[in-house]
Symmetry: C2
Subunit: 275 residues, 2 copies
């Protein structure tokens, strides 16, 4: 199967108009945060953020399949000693647009940026807002199971005997599905809190998020051959991970520097055999 990784140079508001309705399985992105300093990337001011974002999320809504999900990594800045409210207003605005606000995951950054302020601690978490188009959407929970706590080890010893007997009878009837069910007993489903370290800075291009972040949501919300979109590509982490995981992907970036950097780093489209 050939995996297509297409990246575009431009504003996603315009570029997305060339993307058909209902064609994307997962949108994962970390947009430029609102920033006081006009000079930096994007440089949208907090008070303008919602009106800047909503026309774009309208396009996201259009291109997303009804079975797909939109995961938005965002965190409000501190402005004048207060947390800004633009993320709250954004959620409310997107719901009026037709989005369903399904869930808010927390990304707990284990090694957050150090620092000390008189009236504030280090900010060690970010929001991962999950939006959907429809109440029924694809979710492959088994793909992200995690090892259980300590007590499982002692539990398993006792269970194993009856399990084996059950497995034997099942095997006799020709189906071994229960084996994996029981073997998976040391695995549990995760919660809506993710513990990931921020990417170490020994890489030349510091990304906004570690590869584990898009990887987790790509596993959770897509299968191989599905289409992943990142409309604010940045350093390209999302499409790199998508390509590695055998998902088609579309990336859009407004800044030429980032665009060409990502383009050079990506492997060319190629045949990928799997099965």
């Amino acid at each position: 199967m050939e995996i297509h990784t297409n990246i575009f140079l431009g504003d996603c508001l315009d570029t997305l108009k060339g993307i058909p309705d209902n064609s994307v399985d997962l949108i994962f992105t970390s947009p430029p945060y609102a920033d006081q300093r006009k000079s930096t990337y994007g440089g949208i001011r907090p008070e303008e953020y919602v009106e800047w974002f909503l026309p774009r999320s309208e396009q996201f809504l259009r291109v997303l399949k009804p079975s797909g999900s939109f995961v938005l990594n965002i965190k409000e800045k501190v402005v004048n000693g207060e947390r800004s409210t633009y993320v709250l207003e954004l959620i409310i605005g997107m719901r009026q647009q037709g989005w369903l606000w399904t869930e808010e995951f927390i990304w707990h950054k284990k090694n957050s940026y150090p620092g000390k302020w008189p009236n504030r601690f280090r900010d060690a978490w970010e929001r991962l807002l999950q939006f959907n188009k429809d109440r029924k959407f694809n979710m492959y929970q088994d793909e992200v199971m995690v090892p259980m706590g300590e007590w499982a080890k002692t539990r398993l010893r006792k269970l194993s005997e009856t399990d084996l007997r059950r497995d034997d009878s099942k095997v006799g009837s020709g189906f071994g599905k229960n084996i994996s069910n029981w073997l998976d007993r040391d695995m549990a489903y995760p919660s809506n809190v993710l513990h990931l370290a921020t990417e170490c800075s020994n890489k030349s291009h510091s990304a906004a998020f570690p590869e584990e972040l898009p990887e987790w949501f790509i596993k959770l919300f897509t299968q191989e051959g599905d289409v992943v979109l990142d409309p604010f590509l940045g350093s390209g982490t999302t499409v790199k991970v998508a390509q590695r995981m055998h998902r088609h992907s579309i990336g859009i970036e407004i800044l030429p520097d980032y665009y060409y950097m990502v383009k050079n780093q990506l492997e060319p489209s190629k045949l990928v055999l799997f099965g």
Copy 2:
């Protein structure tokens, strides 16, 4: 110094009118969440939550000292497959009321309620919203420093003040002192993510939150002799902890059953020497 622990039976909207302006150093509370605890509290519906809460938070704003903080423990429930937005609207409404939304702490509940659903993982976190009246407020960061390193996190997370004292008296010479030396060596400031387990099972009266939660914020935002208010007292965790920590406290509870239960559990006002 005598520590006063006053609890009132009634709706805080009315009861607070007897409390003077600018007289409270910390408000820590966990109001009944929308549609939760219906059997006991009647259950405020999500659509009515903001208009129910705002008149009360107006009183909170009045009684809080300019140097004080208001910490609100809350989490929105899922309604018809979506997260409700009443908490977001509440934040926006309180800012219009004059509150500053200084920070949002995350309480990561390591032992969240179990369950499996096709489109959702277990909810393992709650919000701890910090509001202030003024940009300058009291914050005693050194009081909540934590040991550094992985080993320290697991070993000492639960080491409360009483535990430390017990170690000292038990060993007398060597071990306790080693621990405290080691404690002093590399302490770090915490972040805005708190890891605490919920209290469950066989405690005499299960509280909505563990004692560590009010304890942490009482340490952070007050000194001995300051005044702590919990306008939705519930099982009384906040005032019990405040009393133990030598802070004056005011608790208000609308349900007679809870009120009398807490009243019976509290130690009578007494002379407390500290220095």
